[in-house]
């Protein structure tokens, strides 16, 4: 499933809104007696790529859910562009996307309708405009031939790519990825890295990426955070990953 197209996001028809910054302050989350993480603080500047690494079960995905306001933290808080992430009004002000680890595609809709849902619901252009944007996003991810298929007809990797294409169509100001390159072959992983980087360089989209992929962090990150045992044990530039202490934690 090689992709030889230059990744150009589907943002050519509508003006890209400005990027937003994210501030996480003393964030903590517990489920009953189970403490997932505590006292997490970091800042992501507008247009920056922050890669969050850590072992499985360290709470990376839970942290993403706090940032997009899907769950309420037990301590601290998250602000996006100065607005409380847990508030519904934030989603009115800020266009944010989340690429879920399993895709979270709408199984009752075709791939095309999955991508067209957001612009249709928010009335972002005519049906012809929407079709152009959707097909363009699908082509970037080498998915032009699956537009009429349903998610149940797709492999895990294809579902992941459709989820990324769906996020591209949204023209997000803040885009969060939960393991975007898992289940993808190396060529497609490299393409996803390029897309994330292009969104930053050309459209100034702020990205927070949860990943185990050290190469992804080294290639595209502005900042890398390492989450372990419920603590953010390191934040710094990706070059720090070459440092023996940090390298050991990242591995």
């Amino acid at each position: 499933m090689a992709c030889d197209k230059k990744p150009e996001p589907a943002h050519d028809k509508l003006e890209q809104p400005p990027a937003v910054g994210v501030s996480v302050e003393g964030l903590g989350k517990s489920y009953g007696d189970l403490e997932v993480f505590k006292d997490i603080s970091f800042k992501v500047d507008p247009g920056e790529i922050f890669v969050l690494m850590g072992p499985s079960g360290s709470g990376k995905s839970v942290l993403l859910r706090q940032i997009v306001g899907l769950e309420t933290p037990t301590a601290g808080g998250v602000t996006i562009d100065g607005h409380d992430a847990a508030s519904e009004a934030t989603r009115e002000h800020v266009r944010l996307g989340l690429v879920f680890q399993a895709g979270a595609l709408f199984n009752s809709l075709s791939v095309y309708d999955n991508l067209a849902l957001y612009p249709r619901e928010h009335r972002l252009g005519t049906e012809k405009d929407i079709r152009g944007k959707v097909m363009h996003a699908l082509e970037i991810l080498s998915l032009g031939n699956v537009a009429e298929k349903f998610p149940s007809d797709l492999s895990g990797g294809m579902k992941k790519r459709v989820a990324i294409a769906r996020a591209l169509v949204m023209q997000p100001q803040l885009l969060l990825y939960d393991e975007p390159t898992s289940e993808l072959d190396p060529v497609m992983s490299a393409t996803i890295d390029e897309i994330i980087a292009t969104l930053k360089n050309e459209y100034h989209v702020t990205s927070i990426v949860v990943s185990h992929d050290r190469d992804l962090a080294l290639n595209i990150a502005d900042q890398v955070g390492i989450l372990m045992d419920g603590r953010l044990i390191h934040i710094g530039p990706p070059a720090d990953l070459h440092h023996p202490t940090v390298q050991g934690s990242a591995e």
């Binding site: 997009v68 989603r91 009115e92 996307g97 979270a104 199984n107 957001y118 619901e121």
Partner: protein, 236 residues
């Protein structure tokens, strides 16, 4: 209650959700119609049979029409349609929404700033309000004819359909049918709201989806029976 208020707050978006509304009308109305027709025919038939058996000693066979007519219109029509709705449509709604919740489709909607109450609940509530009277009227009519056929072809009753329908018309008022339709609207609305609410609050995996469906149907049936008493008391 929170889900109801949130759904109603998006009522203005209903005209542009006409495709979803029509789809739900099809699911709630058209696909439920065959089973409603079959069951209401036999309920009307059994009512006529039991009434005939009870009234034969009193020589009051002509009242079977009014008895079947009033029972169907005021009680059994709306009750039966609502129970079928809970079992057939309510369970499907809960299963669909619960799996959407468990597999993060609902979370995806929230992050896309598409409120689930607007897209998933409102069209269903509107569709059930539109289809319940239709289904109940059809159930009533089929039940009445079921009773008429049994009265004509059962030896110990042998009541002419003209006499059957004459008493049915004479003793039934428009209010009786209207009260039944009110009940159907209340029961249908509550069933869909409960099933949506339980579906959207499901956590866990496939086992929890099954448990949510069972809970939704049981709660719906209990609410139908409890509400029936109170709504009847208000309407009488």
């Amino acid at each position: 209650m929170q889900l109801l208020l949130r759904s109603l707050s998006y009522a203005g978006t209903l005209p542009r959700q006409s495709a979803r509304f029509m789809e739900q009308c099809y699911v709630i109305g058209y696909t439920t119609l065959p089973i409603v027709a079959i069951l209401s025919f036999f309920i009307g038939s059994v009512l006529a049979l039991q009434a005939g058996y009870s009234l034969q000693d009193f020589g009051s066979m002509q009242f079977i029409g009014s008895l079947v007519g009033l029972s169907m219109a005021r009680e059994l029509g709306p009750m039966m349609v609502s129970i079928l709705l809970a079992g057939r449509v309510g369970s499907a709604i809960t299963a669909e929404l619960a799996s959407m919740k468990v597999y993060q489709e609902v979370d995806a909607l929230v992050t896309m700033n598409i409120p689930p109450a607007r897209m998933l609940v409102l069209p269903r509530l509107a569709a059930v309000l539109f289809m319940m009277p239709v289904l109940t009227i059809i159930a009533n009519i089929i039940g009445w004819y079921g009773g008429a056929i049994v009265c004509k072809y059962t030896g110990f009753i042998s009541l002419d359909p003209q006499a059957y329908f004459a008493t049915l018309r004479h003793y039934m008022k428009f209010k009786d049918v209207g009260d039944g339709l009110c009940k159907a609207e209340v029961f249908g609305f509550v069933v869909v709201l409960v099933c949506c609410n339980i579906g959207l609050n499901t956590r866990g995996g496939p086992r929890e989806i099954g448990a949510a469906v069972t809970r939704a149907v049981v709660v719906s049936l209990i609410l139908i029976l409890v509400l029936d008493y109170f709504v009847t008391k208000v309407l009488i």
